[in-house]
Symmetry: C2
Subunit: 347 residues, 2 copies
């Protein structure tokens, strides 16, 4: 797979800033919304950007490492939650529906054979990954296959008219994958990258740290080995997200990045194509310890900070109205001139 993501042309920047500054509000008074309005204007190369057919992609996959006691939930929960998504009972269903986002659920590699279902995208690479405590989670060809499937999934969404994509995931054990990816790609000791996931006890957390330290020690990867890190530690859902993200940015979509695992996928993507960051809105800072460190690593400030740690893309879906508001104020607010409002004096 070859990707080629260019930085958005910056020529429009002065005009966008002028437009934002002339809206009927004090200079800078819409804070982060102004930053996002500028960003999306540049992504779409227009003073009047639009967010069309907002879509949340939720990638699900199982992880061999789950057998090593890194999660307080049994592996079966991945498939059970996918069925919950299909029946509309999960948090992401509620939030996507509320905020008028399409929801696509993708079987990237769940350890369960689902009945055919029009609402489930079958992109299964395997029945879950291998246990990376003993061997790489997937082969390099499988990893590339997952990336390619991610590209195809995004292509279909773009063909349907979508230009803004949220990324979410489900997979028991995948905070362990994400922690190992973070440790390698941010060049940090694994202990700084491991958190409680879905709710480990102190004992469980200590054990998870010991287990993942062993895995890191076994594979001895460095931060330049992005693809190898992904195939060694990644889940199928994480690899598929990497492909989906890279392609979405290449096609000038706006990317809504969710929590710890989604950001780990982005770290891989950004190592391959650093300009992808210009297309990303970081929707929240998760309560999972490590996420803030990741966000600091890529020097970004997320929109929400409300102690979410659910995954599924819920943070991205919850923050979407703020992203929409950024575009809406740019398009719909009056200017000082058009509204005949007096400008600031020099005080």
């Amino acid at each position: 797979m070859k990707f080629n993501i260019a930085q958005p042309d910056q020529a429009l920047k002065p005009q966008l800033i002028h437009t934002i500054n002339n809206k009927t509000k004090p200079l800078g008074a819409l804070g982060q919304l102004e930053t996002i309005a500028l960003q999306i204007g540049l992504i779409q190369q227009t003073l009047t950007p639009e967010l069309n057919r907002p879509t949340m992609l939720v990638f699900a996959g199982d992880h061999g490492i789950a057998e090593s006691g890194v999660s307080p939930y049994p592996q079966a929960v991945t498939a059970q939650m996918v069925l919950n998504f299909l029946r509309g009972g999960a948090a992401i269903n509620v939030f996507a529906k509320q905020n008028n986002m399409q929801l696509c659920v993708i079987d990237s590699g769940v350890n369960h054979q689902f009945e055919p279902n029009a609402d489930l995208i079958d992109a299964k690479i395997g029945m879950g990954t291998r246990n990376f405590l003993y061997e790489p989670a997937m082969t390099l060809p499988h990893c590339e296959q997952a990336i390619e499937k991610g590209v195809q999934i995004v292509d279909k969404q773009i063909a349907a008219g979508c230009n803004v994509l949220g990324f979410g995931e489900m997979g028991i054990g995948n905070t362990s994958s994400a922690s190992c990816l973070m440790s390698v790609l941010c060049d940090l000791p694994i202990e700084a990258c491991v958190g409680r996931g879905t709710g480990l006890s102190d004992t469980g957390l200590a054990e998870k740290k010991r287990t993942l330290a062993q895995a890191i020690k076994r594979h001895r990867l460095t931060s330049t080995d992005a693809m190898q890190a992904l195939s060694t530690f990644g889940g199928f859902e994480i690899a598929m997200m990497v492909g989906a993200m890279l392609h979405a940015a290449q096609k000038q979509c706006t990317l809504l990045i969710d929590g710890f695992i989604t950001t780990a996928a982005l770290l891989v993507a950004a190592r391959l194509e650093p300009n992808i960051l210009d297309y990303c809105v970081f929707t929240h800072c998760s309560d999972e310890s490590g996420h803030k460190v990741m966000l600091d690593f890529v020097h970004v400030q997320p929109l929400l900070n409300i102690d979410l740690r659910l995954g599924e893309g819920t943070g991205a879906a919850l923050a979407y109205p703020l992203v929409l508001a950024s575009v809406n104020f740019l398009n719909e607010m009056a200017s000082f001139e058009s509204a005949a409002v007096s400008q600031k004096l020099a005080v």
Copy 2:
């Protein structure tokens, strides 16, 4: 005016917590949304709360202190912005429309005689307040009249079916009012309560601090003089908000508190009726220095922290989808039992 705000009955609390904890998500994984779901369940005394006819009240008024150079904008901007609200060109129009909130604009005391307009609620107490640098901003009877008007405005909204109200304001000079109220009610030196408002320069800020220090020194009020502080420093829009807030809480509405000036009004209301805090959702922490101190003073954690400092109720309108999401997950998510998802193991 007599108000009597009771703490919501807490008997339902264990059942609400049980319902929240049995949704298909890790315990506590929805963070602040869970706190709000519990709060609104208690306000409405039900396991299935509803937010009906969400309404944003924007109170506008002029301030005598504006003549003393405390704002970089001329007083005329208050009336100009009211006209902008009526034409749909302001930020609050865009955000209220996006998030399906009714918008009510109230002339509490703007220094301008508006043409009759069905979309403008005429509750004018006067053509702006007096300059509190030299004399109290309003008389006590005027202050009580403003509070009473606030009650009537909320009564009409409740009669129309509304049970969730956002509070916002417009008034050149009103960060000065709010700073003085904060200084008195939080018992803090005025210098700790003054910020740049709509964007003062360093020189302007220093001058604003000197001016307000003089005003504070002249009136010598203490933190128990809530009504006197309100009539001395308050704008008509702030006094009207106080009445509206007190009545809304008394009628078991959910209150969406916006930024610095709205929170100053709430400080007055909470001094009169401390239980009002149980009915308030603090929607954001403003970039106006002092707002965070106010929020800490009432021991609350706001939803958004995205450097807004616009007023008009914009923070409340922008955060409303998060409040709605809190109610929606409580009503719509499946439980572990109903979705046949395995519960957490002891790890």
